[in-house]
């Protein structure tokens, strides 16, 4: 076969359901969930790839792939429509031996060994579609090469509480990993895996095959591949990353990561011309801010029409906020309409929803007596909240009310 060799190929795990995002991932995979006014979560790893000079990305899809497939298309918005390489969606497939789903993160890569080998890479970078961050993967690759590592794991220092939900490792002063524990009950360190791995491909391939042939093992990087390599004495190093990195796997963290964009003290800058974030842009006229609008501390994009009050909020494309409506501390996803007199506070409203006049979604924390009762209110996609209806804090709405 005529091949064009690529030094490093990216494999992006995008098949996850994201069950902790509930109503928002009912019809779409987690990486397709809207973020930051005109992006979807997957724009971050994809843009990072392009900005890092990685032009071959396999996107592993499985759960509800329609929106994601449509969004990625031929990869053109990220400059990933290439004669050789580019973006490829890789769903599970049938073989002569039968068909099976991706049984885990490692199995998903295992099933696509043939895809990777088309490009005969030295290295493979494994990414996930769950995080918001800007990172130069090329620097990490240089680190991997300089250390002569077999595997490099990007790490960040987290709190002890967060450590119980993440892959935690111990590294010596040469950044060599000595211990790794997936979601430990009693973490020995606060160095957490960011879910970004670079492997020397020949090594990874070997461990993927061994893992596949062992019926007693989980088919997962954190549970099997990483510990197996560590136990076998492969050289594994931790790559410390200092910048902004947020998991958006829960409704609260998704809301917080959006609000981070409005906080000038938090270092996630979408306006940096040297590290552009790309996305599939909607074809809509510019936003219109009406004569009665009061708008501050917010991000708003094309196709929006705002005539009400918007504060500390993010409006995605084509959102309408009518005169007399109030949206504060909230995220309104594409195409939704907030009608006159409706109040949306501390809430996430999904795509193409209609919040009728006088409806109320969410509440400010200071108005709730018992703080345990307070949380972000969430309305799923394509839902109508009828006039004067109330959605309480912490409520998750997945049907019209």
């Amino acid at each position: 076969m005529y091949t064009t060799k690529k030094e490093c190929v990216a494999m992006l795990l995008a098949g996850g359901q994201g069950s902790r995002l509930y109503a928002l991932t009912h019809d779409m995979a987690k990486p397709a969930v809207p973020y930051g006014g005109k992006y979807r979560i997957i724009d971050f790893p994809l843009s990072n790839c392009v900005n890092s000079g990685i032009d071959t990305v396999g996107v592993l899809t499985q759960y509800q792939p329609l929106v994601l497939n449509d969004y990625i298309g031929n990869g053109q918005p990220w400059d990933l429509d290439k004669q050789y390489g580019g973006a490829h969606c890789l769903p599970p497939y049938q073989t002569a031996l039968g068909a099976e789903w991706y049984k885990g993160t490692a199995n998903a890569i295992y099933q696509n060994i043939a895809f990777v080998e088309r490009y005969a890479p030295e290295y493979v970078i494994i990414l996930s579609g769950d995080h918001i961050y800007k990172m130069d993967y090329n620097k990490m690759l240089e680190f991997h090469k300089k250390k002569g590592a077999d595997a490099t794991i990007a790490v960040q220092t987290v709190t002890l509480e967060e450590a119980t939900r993440l892959g935690i490792m111990t590294a010596n002063e040469d950044d060599i990993i000595t211990e790794f524990e997936e979601k430990p009950k009693h973490p020995k360190s606060t160095l957490a895996s960011m879910g970004i791995y670079i492997f020397t491909w020949s090594k990874l391939k070997q461990y993927l095959i061994e893992n596949e042939n062992n019926p007693n093992e989980d088919k997962d990087f954190g549970k099997a591949i990483i510990p197996n390599m560590l136990n076998a004495g492969e050289k594994m190093v931790a790559y410390p990353f200092e910048g902004y990195w947020r998991d958006v796997g829960t409704l609260d963290s998704l809301w917080e990561a959006n609000m981070d964009l409005l906080n000038p003290n938090i270092p996630i800058d979408l306006y940096d011309p040297d590290w552009k974030m790309y996305s599939r842009n909607p074809i809509m006229p510019p936003q219109y801010i009406g004569a009665d609008a009061v708008i501050e501390n917010s991000m708003v994009t094309d196709g929006c029409s705002v005539n009400g009050t918007v504060d500390f909020s993010i409006l995605f494309e084509g959102v309408t906020v009518e005169a007399g409506a109030t949206v504060t501390d909230s995220i309104i996803m594409p195409g939704s309409v907030i009608k006159s007199g409706a109040i949306v506070e501390y809430a996430i409203v999904g795509e193409n929803c209609v919040v009728e006049a006088g409806a109320q979604i969410g509440a400010r924390p200071e108005t709730i007596e018992n703080r345990d009762d307070w949380g972000i209110a969430v309305v799923g996609h394509n839902i109508t909240i009828s006039a004067d209806a109330k959605v309480l804090p912490k409520q998750i709405i997945s049907e019209n009310i």
């Binding site: 006014g37 006229p285 991000m299 094309d302």
Partner: protein
């Protein structure tokens, strides 16, 4: 559009450059910025695409670097095609082409391109009219009436100044053009030509080749005026929102007319999107202390001051405590803190330092050229 007839679109990007010399100093009429994120050519081009025309030639003359940059391969208009698609037609691209003086000469210059098209009909459009129009209906009308030429017009009340750059039709009861006035000294209610025409390719061939042999170059003078009674020239009335850009004043008013929601919904109907080049700007950010009223705003702006009755293009910055009113700020304009800006048009990349005060008048807005630093 029905598949049993094919239509070629031809856009004249440089016609009317001289009407707004400030804005066309470094660009064509077609690449003049408009409406917060567009260039004028986006309107005829999107109209053609939305009317099912998938083969478009863009005729340029001079100053066309910004136009080429904007159009690229035509992908954003779905015109990066194997069959048909976008064709850029600069002067001197064929033996007989050069610095044309008028539409007929320009068409003769690109005749080799037109000749190879399989189209039966040709839609000609300039870039000076901003509107949403379905050309397939104009072609239907042309065929139904057995016309030689169909000219699109709109009813409008114009000032004598606007008439200076207008073609005005007299139309009889059968909607036939009976008289054509070029840049007349009149005012009031008129049938204004929108400079959009439909002809069969065969008819176009006859008049272009004949004109070339007689050294005639002006379509308006030699054909519309000169042959009014010889040819069947039908008038197609286009209703709905439109703006004709004939001067700096009309350019300003046309942009401001988009602050009216009724006009916007007519220019940007949901099923007829206006395509333009994607710039990958982040959303617009409204800072603490921002106050924005009645304004049209492109993506990627950072607004920390007051903005009222304005059109802001992509990537504009308005500093803290600044007040910008009744103004058009084009792409990447930066207004410093505590500035006071009123009735001003800034071209691309204008930088205004802190505490400056600039005021134009309503019928003569102050214009700051591309890259000006104040």
């Amino acid at each position: 559009m029905s598949s049993n007839r094919s239509v070629l679109g031809l856009i004249f990007s440089n016609m009317h450059d001289s009407t707004i010399p400030d804005l066309t100093k470094e660009r064509t009429m077609g690449s003049v910025l408009f409406g917060g994120r567009y260039r004028l050519i986006d309107f005829p081009l999107s109209n053609m695409v939305n009317s099912g025309i998938d083969e478009v030639g863009v005729i340029t003359k001079s100053n066309y670097q910004s136009l080429l940059d904007h159009l690229g391969s035509g992908r954003e208009w779905d015109l990066a095609r194997k069959i048909g698609g976008l064709h850029l037609l600069p002067p001197f691209s064929h033996v007989q082409s050069g610095m044309y003086r008028g539409r007929l000469e320009a068409l003769y210059g690109v005749w080799n391109f037109i000749k190879t098209s399989n189209a039966d009909y040709v839609v000609l459009s300039d870039c000076d009219a901003v509107t949403s129009i379905d050309f397939s209906k104009v072609v239907d009308y042309h065929i139904e009436n057995g016309a030689d030429i169909t000219a699109v017009y709109a009813k409008d009340v114009i000032t004598s100044e606007q008439a200076q750059n207008a073609t005005v039709f007299s139309i009889n009861d059968d909607d036939r053009v009976v008289d054509v006035l070029l840049n007349p000294h009149i005012s009031g209610a008129c049938n204004i030509s929108l400079n959009m025409f439909v002809l069969s390719k065969e008819f176009l061939k006859n008049i272009v080749l004949e004109a070339a042999s007689k050294s005639l170059y002006s379509f308006e003078q030699a054909i519309l005026q000169g042959r009014t009674h010889e040819y069947k020239i039908m008038a197609y009335r286009h209703d709905g929102f439109f703006c004709k850009i004939t001067s700096m004043e009309t350019f300003y008013k046309a942009n401001m007319s988009l602050l009216n929601s009724d006009n916007r919904s007519k220019l940007f109907p949901e099923n007829r999107p206006v395509y333009t080049k994607v710039r990958d700007n982040p959303p617009t950010k409204f800072g603490i202390g921002a106050s924005v009223k009645n304004s049209l705003i492109g993506d990627g702006c950072i607004i920390e001051g007051t903005v009222e009755n304005c059109v802001l293009f992509r990537g504009v910055k308005v500093g803290k405590g600044a007040a910008v009113k009744n103004s058009i700020l084009m792409q990447d304009t930066a207004i410093g803190a505590k500035c006071d800006i009123n009735n001003v048009i800034t071209d691309k990349n204008v930088k205004i330092s802190d505490m400056r005060m600039l005021t134009g008048s309503q019928n003569y807005p102050l214009f700051l050229g591309k890259g000006a630093v104040i």
